[in-house]
Symmetry: C2
Subunit: 682 residues, 2 copies
């Protein structure tokens, strides 16, 4: 374990590790589990409550449907876990749902999945933070009284941490996650012991409230619809399951098997916790309502707007451990911490997906190169901004935000599983080994079932949640999809425009002669260096060029030029209106039109400075001129830098910047193994 804290430093800052030593930096299962599972495990903090909340619409009597809904969620969880176990075997490269859909269903499906995942990351942040604040708020009053403020402050904190590139370690994930899991299991065991063995009556703080049913005695289609809605909400427990399929490269060997085992373990933990909490909630008579202010009654009177409806997990913990007890506070803290960690996973996943999309030219190219801090930062800021906006619009209310959440998850589940079915179909066409074919048939059956089930859930989610907010998530997907399509189209258009012709490729682009022009304002070291460098590269003709903005200065320059005996002719351009750019551009154009097949090489001496404010004081005319010259065909522009003493400061800054860590490295694994050809082995 002690080695683990060094891992990210070594991966990222590292002295380049040799490939055969990369094994050391990989995650054992006991660390991989918390690294990847904080998102799905933490969702048991809100999913059970959402089920009860929806059921309460039909009154407290509908609560007896909750075990059935829990059972449905468990079946779904097993299905999804079983399906993704096929994925990690078939695609050990960690491309995840995007890669699966892209490879097997084509780029449009891939882009749809990518859009869904991007929206998902935003909502992971918004939902997890909001729920974390609610859980923390059950123990700390200040937080719940300033809910939106606390949530946005937390988003800001995570953003800054990720922008600064705080170093990660597996421990960081392991401790809170294991504390949380242990706490929930302790709660379930303790509750079962007290309730069943000791026969104590445990009362949730809301046990003596009544629920005013919005629709008393629902039956038939209306009841089914309500149950489906409750089920949809319970599906929030499934979010984040796919994360492991993106992280296979980070596992120790045998990677795929370890990843599959971890996936199964995670599924088992999640459903146990989910069912345990629902069970305890039933046993302790937790009462939750969609609109607590009006629909929860204390002695027949609505509890009113001031009432704060605490999460189920915290109500249950209060019933089992006692209000304000050590374990109650510990569990509340661990829950909040795991939820914040879950939010943090989105900060890692969003730029990573961006980098994969950039490789396929759906996003700006520079996002692809790793450790590109600027690109990474832009992604982080976009993610945080969108999440903060949602938190603000929806009052940091996890119940409202969950309505948006599940669409994206099930879009990518469904498309990924359909893609897997195609994957097996393709491999079955060529595979002749009967044992392999049997395994493939089995895998295909699992994925086909997974695709059908998650597809059905997607339909249910859309049907029950569209007007409750799912349309916002769909709109977000459409915007991402549209933007990325436009970017790809632009890149394709440019690629076509610049494609080199086959026959005599450089015939027409190669000029016959080159004339070099060195721009001069004063005779100082930068100018002398530019002249010296220009001389090194033998042009057919070399001259120095100055623009006469001030006749006296120009006269002095000319005199010194002659006095020093500089063997390059000095050409002086008049500029009655004290412009610099236009005369130079026109002169260069003139050179070109005299000899259209000549190229012109313009040398510009540049100061290299160390502070941003010095940039305002230097090179501005040079930069502008350079910008304009680039538009002039047949011209190349050479910057001859002169490093001023102050540039050392910037050099140091640049070195420091280069040592920056891109967060999310722990779960990403070494880069080399990523995106190889998918293996056909199940």
């Amino acid at each position: 374990m002690s080695k683990l804290t060094d891992v990210p430093k070594r991966i990222l800052i590292g002295r380049a590790l040799r490939s055969d030593r990369l094994g050391e930096t990989l995650l054992p299962k006991r660390i991989a589990l918390p690294v990847f599972a904080s998102d799905p495990l933490s969702s048991v903090a809100y999913a059970p409550g959402e089920v009860l909340l929806v059921l309460s619409v039909a009154g407290v009597s509908a609560y007896h449907f909750s075990p059935w809904i829990a059972a449905a969620v468990v079946v779904l969880m097993f299905t999804v876990v079983a399906s993704y176990r096929q994925n990690v075997h078939a695609y050990p490269s960690g491309g995840g749902d995007y890669e699966v859909a892209n490879t097997n269903l084509g780029p449009k499906a891939g882009l749809t999945v990518a859009s869904a995942l991007l929206v998902d990351y935003v909502l992971t942040v918004a939902v997890s933070i909001s729920s974390g604040v609610e859980n923390l708020g059950s123990a700390v009053d200040f937080v719940i009284e300033h809910k939106v403020l606390s949530a946005i402050a937390m988003i800001l904190l995570l953003t800054l941490m990720n922008l600064r590139g705080v170093k990660e370690s597996g421990k960081l994930f392991a401790i809170p996650t294991y504390v949380f899991v242990a706490g929930v299991f302790l709660m379930i065991a303790w509750g079962a012991w007290k309730g069943i063995v000791l026969g104590d009556t445990m009362k949730a703080p809301t046990a003596d409230l009544e629920i005013k049913a919005e629709h008393q005695g629902l039956a038939g289609f209306a009841l089914v619809f309500l149950l489906l809605r409750a089920f949809s909400s319970g599906c929030a427990a499934l979010t984040g399951v796919e994360a492991i399929s993106n992280g296979v490269p980070a596992f120790r060997k045998p990677k795929s098997r370890n990843a599959a085992t971890t996936l199964a373990l995670m599924g088992a933990l999640a459903v146990t916790m989910f069912c345990g909490i629902i069970g305890l909630a039933m046993a302790t008579d937790v009462r939750m309502a969609e609109k607590p202010a009006t629909d929860l009654l204390r002695g027949g009177v609505p509890v009113g707007d001031d009432y704060v409806q605490n999460p189920v997990i915290s109500q249950v913990a209060e019933a089992v451990f006692g209000p304000g007890s050590f374990f109650f506070v510990l569990l509340a803290a661990a829950t909040a911490l795991v939820l914040f960690l879950a939010a943090n996973t989105a900060y890692n996943g969003f730029p990573l997906l961006g980098s994969i999309l950039a490789q396929d030219r759906y996003l700006p190219r520079q996002l692809h190169t790793r450790g590109d801090r600027l690109a990474f930062s832009n992604g982080i800021v976009l993610l945080a901004g969108a999440a903060a906006l949602l938190v603000w619009v929806y009052d940091a209310d996890s119940t409202k935000l969950i309505q948006l959440y599940i669409v994206g998850v099930f879009v990518s589940f469904t498309l990924s599983q359909i893609g897997m079915v195609r994957h097996w179909n393709r491999h079955l066409k060529t595979e002749r080994d009967p044992a392999a074919r049997r395994r493939m048939f089995r895998s295909r059956a699992i994925n086909a079932f997974g695709a059908t089930f998650t597809g059905l859930v997607l339909v249910v989610v859309l049907a029950t949640k569209f007007t409750h907010g799912a349309w916002v998530a769909l709109l977000g997907m459409v915007i991402f999809y549209g933007t990325m399509t436009a970017i790809r189209r632009h890149y394709d258009k440019v690629a076509e425009e610049i494609a080199a012709a086959e026959e005599r490729p450089d015939e027409y682009v190669r000029p016959s002669r080159v004339r070099s022009v060195v721009l001069v304002s004063k005779l100082h070291k930068p100018t002398l260096r530019a002249l010296a460098y220009a001389k090194l590269l033998h042009a057919n003709q070399l001259e120095a060029l100055t623009v006469s903005v001030d006749p006296a200065e120009t006269k002095a320059l000319k005199a010194e030029w002659e006095r020093r005996g500089i063997d390059v002719p000095l050409k002086i351009l008049d500029s009655p209106y004290r412009e610099v750019t236009r005369p130079v551009i026109e002169y260069v154009k003139g050179l070109r039109s005299e000899n259209p097949r000549d190229a012109v090489s313009v040398y510009i001496p540049e100061y290299v400075v160390g502070h941003w404010y010095e940039h305002l004081l230097h090179n501005q005319s040079a930069l502008r001129l350079k910008g304009r010259l680039l538009f002039t065909p047949g011209v190349m522009v050479t910057s001859v830098p002169y490093q001023l003493a102050s540039s050392e400061a910037a050099k140091k800054r640049a070195r420091k910047r280069q040592e920056w860590n891109a967060p999310g490295a722990v779960r990403r694994g070494p880069v080399d193994t990523r995106r190889k050809e998918p293996s056909g082995k199940a």
Copy 2:
């Protein structure tokens, strides 16, 4: 006159005018007067009121001092006009007070004057706009009800007009200024006719209010101090007088004489209007108070916070022309318009002064080149931002803002006049012609008197207004002074660092050989062009360099390289962490350390695109790399542009930008004649 509308277009956009045709573009006196005088003439809209306001502190009986104060202002105006008539003869180059102080008193005095003028421009905007809004408000209720909003909206409008470079013409200035002057003279004449000949009693709207004196029966030192304060406020009428001394080059020949005549005319008009308005105010019993809400009583009761104290000029106009009459509304509109024009002069003067300061390296160098839209825009935005801040802080209350105003004006008056005395002293040392010496003695006497008088006024202003707000103006001056000193020091330090040594200047900067490296990512037209251009410039060694971010892509690149038979060796750098910048930098550094006397020339193919969003999609890695390479000694970086079809759009935009007009051209005159050596002739 019809030619005048074409003037700015021709000056600025122009087909380069030949010097001998420049005469046509110059201003005749009848146009020069309104162009330069909107600022000083418009100040009669607020100066008389300020005098009454201060006097009211000692009760209405103190109003009888107002003719004496008016007389003092008149004497001061004549002194200043006489003094500046010497300036325009001695410094026909239009450098103005900054040049005079700088040349004769040294750079510190020059910089002090410059700081004072910069603060002054900010306050010209704030005061003129606020007063314009008050005058407009006397006719249009909405404006006075939303005073701060209206003032800031007006600042915004002027800013946008100036940023866009709306074309100017002399007419633009002439019509409102002459309407305003004619209106005021008509009012004075009509009032005198009605009052003296017809014997009508004219009553200002405030005539039946009483003033509660804050200090009844002031005497001795306290009274003198109050009278001096009233005089200081009246000195607001002097602001802007110096503008003509900046604009001599814009006049028709004989420039200096025409400028001097215009100056005298302006002074005569200003004092007549000022005295006329004070006289009418006395005749119509205008009542104004510093704190109208509590100190103005109607039937013994304070008028309260809702009371709006209209400017004297509008009260007098109401008394003479009748409330709501055509002439009343016309004069209010013309007054507001002239005040807004006065504000606009600051928008012209601020960047112009900036350009002169830039020439002396007190401000970033690029401000010096004319028609530099970006630099101009920065100046405009800084000016507007500072003015808007003042308007907001001081509730667009011209009375409060005037407390800040006059310090800067008199700092530059005084230093300029002291400088002129030195100027004459210097010339008297060498001048032997008795007639010329006599003229010089006379000029020196005028300037000496001017320096003494304005210096005294400066002391009075500082003494009477320091705590009322003048300290803010002084603070602003200190900030400008400090910033400009720091910039100058930076430029001096850099100049020293880069000064070319005398002995064998380029010995140590000249490398012996050069190795060229062409950066390659794919084989397309931009790459082929970069290769072709690099070959043109014969280096001692030429190679292509690619960073292997994706092994498959690199393999494909290598294969195509060979297939096409490109005769430049392709070097492939491994990049296990998918970085681009670091491997290239390290390779280049390696080349240098192998042969420290070699230079390295790096060619980077660049896409030239037309829209800002395309920049986000292209060249980002190239730009970052270039930035880093510039810090590496012994390296020059060549951009080989490839113009994509979309770059046409940017070319068009650039052309359009180049045709942009820098506002203020009318008053600036042709650039060639500016800043010649000052002549010694009086």
